[in-house]
């Protein structure tokens, strides 16, 4: 049984008459049984047929004139008449590129600002932790009941990110 994904690929090849006879038969059996693929096949055939009206590569100007002619006949594409803008396309490209670059620059600047602030905060936290560790080890080294060797070992291998477990981790 052919899957729809494969059938949809074969529909395109079938239109281009690039399928083997066996695949043509299999595709026809699937399309006959699958309403979705049947609708897709009809739509693709219609589209290809319309595209074949356009013979050969056309320049931008010829395309626009042809399109305008069809639009003036009130076809399905609507009644609005598109006109070729008077300003050169190159300038709009430059404006668009500048806008994109400015947006990227703004995003990068905001990101860098956030990054620097985060790093600054991390540095402050690290300094505080360093002081805390030094003070804790000093206390453990001078208190008769503490175990400075265990405290130092824990400081080296602290891996647990949660404080839910008691004691050294």
């Amino acid at each position: 049984m052919m899957h729809c994904a494969r059938a949809q690929r074969l529909i395109s090849l079938d239109i281009d008459q690039r399928l083997s006879a066996r695949d043509v038969v299999r595709l026809q059996v699937h399309v006959g049984a699958c309403p979705d693929c049947a609708a897709l096949a009809r739509q693709m055939r219609t589209t290809v047929a319309e595209l074949r009206v356009l013979t050969g590569p056309v320049s931008d100007d010829r395309f626009i004139r042809g399109l305008n002619a069809r639009l003036s006949d009130g076809n399905a594409l609507g009644t609005t008449k598109m006109t070729r803008p008077q300003i050169g396309r190159g300038r709009w490209h430059i404006v668009g590129a500048c806008t994109v670059c400015a947006a990227i620059a703004l995003v990068l600047a905001a990101h860098l600002n956030l990054d620097m602030s985060a790093r600054s905060r991390d540095a402050e936290v690290s300094r505080t932790l360093t002081a805390a560790r030094a003070h804790a080890l000093t206390y453990a080294a001078t208190s008769p009941l503490e175990d400075v060797a265990a405290a130092n070992l824990a400081a080296h291998y602290a891996a647990d990110r949660s404080a839910e477990k008691p004691g050294y981790e």
Partner: protein
């Protein structure tokens, strides 16, 4: 020849034999003296004795006597020991060290293993702790402790035992590093983390210690595998000059202990907060480190057996902006220290607490 009167046959021994017998007698006497001396240092008690067999006086008196010996004479006796330390947690960790103890505030711990700790030295002298770390780059950190720190803590602990804020119980005797040791269990007034210490019955030196959570789970232990009391150390053994050459970090804390939080508040730009703790904990010391906006405040609390160290510091202006996700109320951990950021302040907490007490502390500092 014979002695006609007694019937005993007496031989006149040649001088060489006299000398030999005299030498044998002297050697035998020396051997006896050595055995007797050794017996004093190394009694041949079995590994474990029932408590009753080793108690010579009422239990409370014996326990306090052991504690006094531990806190007073036990701190003064020089020794050389080899020690193993274990931490039991998400994974078991172990290290081995050489411990050279020259007296009160004179101790040197040299790490033998694991590889990442090999070469580290922790040196305690009258100025506090000098901690040399060869990795990742050679550095020395200096934690200040005044000369009487040990004596003050010993006095406080004995007072806590007398006032029954700390309970001391003899729970057995064992042999550690070939020394007969009495096992004492120390607990605060309320249920909480507790400790056991093994004290050399003859010298009062601590041979082993174990730390337990409130649930009775062992968290860490250090124990001597060998101890030698016949050592003598040179004065230079416990000076910072004996450490390998390395840059020294600024000392922490920079000030001597202050009398109160109010005194620490003077000159501190942020409002010092005190955590909500179980009633058994009392404030034992306040320190400040740094100046101006870079000031840290250190509060030390103790229940007599366990200590909590809380450090608080105001984050600098550019660092305090809310960046990224809001600060989590669940503390993170680094280097064995719990820390969290709240209201432009960073807090760190060192010590053993149950999760609900940790949450209570975090909430009270918001």
């Amino acid at each position: 020849m014979s002695d006609g009167g007694s019937g005993l046959l007496v031989r006149r021994l040649p001088p060489r034999v006299h000398l030999s017998l005299a030498a044998l007698g002297a050697v035998g006497q020396l051997a006896l003296m050595a055995v007797a001396s050794d017996a004093q240092l190394r009694p041949r008690e079995p590994t474990a004795l029932p408590v009753a067999a080793s108690v010579e006086q009422p239990s409370a008196g014996r326990e306090r006597a052991l504690m006094r010996r531990f806190l007073l004479s036990g701190q003064r006796i020089p020794y050389y020991a080899e020690q193993t330390t274990r931490i039991i947690g998400a994974r078991a960790l172990e290290s081995r060290q050489v411990v050279k103890h020259g007296g009160v505030m004179r101790e040197r711990i040299e790490y033998l293993s694991p590889a990442r700790l090999r070469g580290e030295v922790m040196l305690v002298n009258g100025d506090g702790l000098w901690h040399y770390r060869p990795l990742p780059e050679p550095r020395i950190s200096h934690g200040i402790a005044h000369r009487d720190a040990v004596a003050d803590m010993a006095r406080d602990l004995l007072a806590a035992v007398r006032a029954k804020r700390v309970s001391v119980r003899l729970v057995g005797t064992e042999v550690v590093a070939d020394r007969a040791a009495a096992v004492l269990e120390l607990r605060g007034r309320e249920a909480g983390p507790y400790k056991r210490i093994w004290l050399d019955e003859a010298t009062g030196v601590r041979l082993r210690n174990e730390a337990f959570s409130s649930a009775g789970v062992m968290l860490s232990t250090s124990y001597f595998t060998r101890i030698d009391y016949s050592v003598r150390y040179s004065p230079g053994e416990f000076t910072p000059a004996s450490l390998p050459s390395a840059p020294v970090d600024a000392a922490v804390p920079a000030s001597p202990p202050l009398a109160s939080v109010a005194e620490a508040q003077i000159g501190t730009s942020f409002s010092i907060r005190e955590p909500s703790l179980p009633v058994r904990y009392s404030l034992k010391g306040v320190w400040v480190s740094g100046t101006g906006r870079k000031r840290s405040v250190i509060l030390r609390y103790s229940d007599g057996v366990n200590a909590l160290l809380l450090v608080q510091r105001h984050l600098a202006d550019q660092a305090s902006r809310r960046v990224g996700p809001p600060a989590s109320t669940t503390p993170q951990r680094r280097w064995g220290v719990a820390y969290w950021v709240s209201d432009d302040m960073v807090y760190t907490l060192t010590g053993t607490v149950r999760p609900e007490i940790m949450r209570r502390i975090v909430e009270s500092l918001r």
